[in-house]
């Protein structure tokens, strides 16, 4: 009779059991327990420093290799490719007219055939490069971070580099990715389960206290699930109860980053599926503001619910992303004025990601949510800085739009981002006709101006 289990199988089973136990113990001790108590062993920072050294080495090798083979190295243009000449419409047209040697400027006719040069040039310049369209795709890197997805220079340079890249691939996909996915499931699962349990308690101080702890703990586990290395600056300005927290938006991860350092009431639309389950259980433990799809269109309803929340001074600060869409973290686009009309103190927060470790920008036209999260979890790490700016309130003579722009400028300045007036909605929509009319008006005014001068003289 054959033995059901021969000794070899037994051994394999035992080994498997032991390694799984060790694995889970390590996980628990080094990751989950610190997350619960909010302490850190510093493993992630060490990891970050090692990675940086590695990237520098890799870049040097590429540059050296390129020089040896006489390849032209492609350096990305991250800022404007066109030299900007800050002159106004009137000045430039006058200059063009002046260069026509046979006409005297003051007695120039009202309209010159050469005026069109100015508009043609500006049009082609904006086709060559403009401030807005490049914000909706990922930023370019100068050094290579050993991810195939972000390289432009990678020819076959050396065996060592390719081996390193291959090793990186193996580590990222077979070690880091499963680890992170496990943590993510743990974090989300705990969140759903524990908030449901807390929801059973009667409203009161105990419930609020527990809900705070649970939220923080689960978000910290999620932070570790993404290997996010976050540096918080100026924590004395952290948003307080009864206020609104406003931040620039690059990806859905922003929420996790902010919520792991403080408790917020989130605002958003209720989704179906897994997201919906998470949202519904979260609201049992603490009053987040979720809207049905139909309610989102009704601006008054939204404003009323938000201001009702603010009335109760013991409620958590509201977290809002006024840009309304994800921008690629090189600029801040127009803040929608709705969040600035409801009153209350505004606590601005600037978030800047370090693109060397992994690009956090969510290009929703290119990637869905799941593939985006998988990309995030298979990058090296997500490194970012968060600055808490001093609180601001709307002044007497300011309207909502001016206030929004003031806050936006402060955030852009702190994060080192470009401050743009354009609407992030341009990602999907078209520019209104009114902008074209502005330019036409300017030009017409100039012509009328010369007409008036002539009739006066």
């Amino acid at each position: 009779m054959e033995l059901f289990f021969n000794p070899f199988d037994n051994l394999v089973c035992i080994l498997l059991g032991i390694s799984l136990t060790v694995w889970f113990t390590l996980l628990l001790v080094f990751i989950i327990v610190p997350a619960i108590f909010g302490v850190s062993f510093g493993i992630r920072r060490l990891y970050m420093k090692t990675l940086l050294k590695l990237f520098e080495w890799a870049t040097l090798r590429i540059e050296r290799g390129a020089k040896e083979n006489n390849h032209h190295l492609h350096k990305p243009y991250s800022n404007a490719i066109i030299a900007k000449e800050p002159t106004s419409l009137e000045e430039e047209i006058k200059e063009i007219r002046r260069s026509g040697s046979n006409k005297d400027l003051d007695s120039a006719s009202e309209f010159e055939m050469s005026d069109i040069f100015y508009f043609a040039r500006r049009g082609v310049a904006s086709i060559m490069d403009d401030e807005v369209t490049k914000r909706f795709s990922a930023e370019e890197l100068e050094s290579w971070n050993l991810l195939t997805r972000s390289n432009n220079n990678f020819h076959y340079i050396s065996l060592r580099l390719t081996v390193l890249w291959g090793l990186g691939l193996v580590i990222r996909y077979s070690f880091l990715l499963p680890l992170r996915v496990t943590l993510a499931f743990t974090g989300v699962g705990l969140l759903v389960f524990l908030t449901c349990v807390i929801g059973l308690l009667p409203n009161g101080r105990l419930k609020n206290f527990l809900s705070e702890k649970v939220h923080l703990m689960c978000y910290r586990i999620c932070v570790r699930a993404l290997t996010a290395i976050i540096t918080y600056h100026d924590s004395e300005n952290k948003p307080k109860k009864g206020g609104i927290c406003v931040a620039n938006h690059t990806s859905p991860i922003d929420v996790i980053i902010l919520a792991s350092d403080g408790c917020y009431a989130m605002v958003g639309q209720i989704h179906g599926g897994l997201m919906g389950i998470i949202q519904r259980s979260m609201v049992k433990a603490c009053p987040h503001i979720w809207f049905e799809r139909s309610e989102v269109k009704d601006r008054h309803l939204v404003a009323k619910r938000l201001s009702d929340h603010l009335e109760v001074k013991t409620k958590l600060p509201i977290l809002i992303f006024p840009e309304g869409t994800c921008i690629n973290n090189t600029s801040v686009m127009m803040f929608k004025k709705g969040s600035f009309e409801i009153g209350g103190t505004v606590y601005p927060v600037a978030i800047k990601y370090d693109p060397r470790f992994g690009d956090a920008f969510w290009n929703s036209s290119k990637f869905g949510m799941v593939s985006y999260l998988l990309r995030m979890m298979s990058s090296w790490a997500i490194v970012c800085s968060v600055w808490y700016l001093p609180p601001m309130s709307r002044e007497e003579d300011e309207d909502a739009v001016q206030f929004a722009n003031r806050v936006k400028a402060a955030i852009a300045r702190q994060g080192g981002l470009v401050d743009l007036l354009w609407d992030g909605g341009l990602k999907r929509g078209k520019v209104k006709e009114t902008f074209k009319e502005e330019q036409q008006k300017l030009y017409s005014k100039m012509l009328v101006g010369t007409q008036e001068d002539r009739s006066r003289s």
Binding site: K75, D115, I116, R121, V124, I127, D130, T148, V383, Y443
Partner: protein, 215 residues
């Protein structure tokens, strides 16, 4: 995506460099821009240009966009509009706005002609080689606003005045029943003789900047 992904073929760029006069790095930058505008497609269509907000502000944007789809600007002696353009044609049209290199002082006249030809083509929408009064009026209409700052027929009167001036400069004294058909390219050149268009109608590339990282 293999590890041995190569950069865009250099031999194509050599060809383009000779035809257009742009340097390698400029061609690379413009190629990236082309891919961004076309959403990584092979060709650009008119619709793709509409996604540029700065261009949407420009009063003559439709003329500028048409210029990109006008075969006369492709330097292949063709005529008529196309529906979509490849990178080579895009670069050809862009090269009209290239700053002349200092070495090309002798060729300044031909550079001038090229740039003025571009502007001429922009006015002459029916490809017949002359800018008629209607066509000119249309362009001026686009430039002016519909606000009350100007009277209703201002565009018409400006266009008429301009055409009259052109006629008198180029034809001298006209018989009462002679009809001035339109501005030909030679007249156009003569009119704009004094303007240093080769200096004014250029778009300059700036130096590279290094990106900023987290502090």
């Amino acid at each position: 995506m293999g590890a041995l992904q190569s950069s865009p073929g250099q031999p194509e760029y050599v060809d383009l460099k000779e035809k257009t006069g742009f340097s390698f790095s400029q061609i690379r930058v413009l190629h990236k821009r082309f891919k961004l505008l076309s959403h990584n497609g092979e060709t650009l269509k008119r619709d793709h240009f509409n996604s540029i907000p700065d261009l949407a502000c420009n009063p003559i944007r439709s003329q500028i966009i048409e210029a990109f789809f006008d075969r006369r600007n492709f330097r292949q002696n063709g005529e008529g509009p196309v529906d979509e353009i490849h990178f080579e044609e895009f670069l050809m049209v862009m090269s009209h706005f290239k700053a002349p290199s200092p070495r090309m002082i002798e060729e300044r006249e031909s550079v001038r002609r090229e740039k003025l030809r571009f502007i001429f083509n922009m006015h002459d929408t029916d490809n017949d080689g002359t800018i008629t009064l209607e066509e000119y009026r249309h362009v001026i209409d686009e430039l002016l606003s519909l606000s009350e700052a100007l009277e209703k027929d201002t565009a018409k009167s400006i266009a008429d005045a301009a055409m009259l001036e052109v006629a008198s400069t180029s034809m001298g004294h006209m018989e009462p029943d002679e009809f001035y058909e339109g501005i030909t390219f030679e007249h156009f050149l003569k009119l704009l003789k004094g303007f240093e268009i080769e200096l004014k109608m250029n778009v300059h590339f700036s130096m590279m900047d290094t990106p900023t990282f987290c502090k």
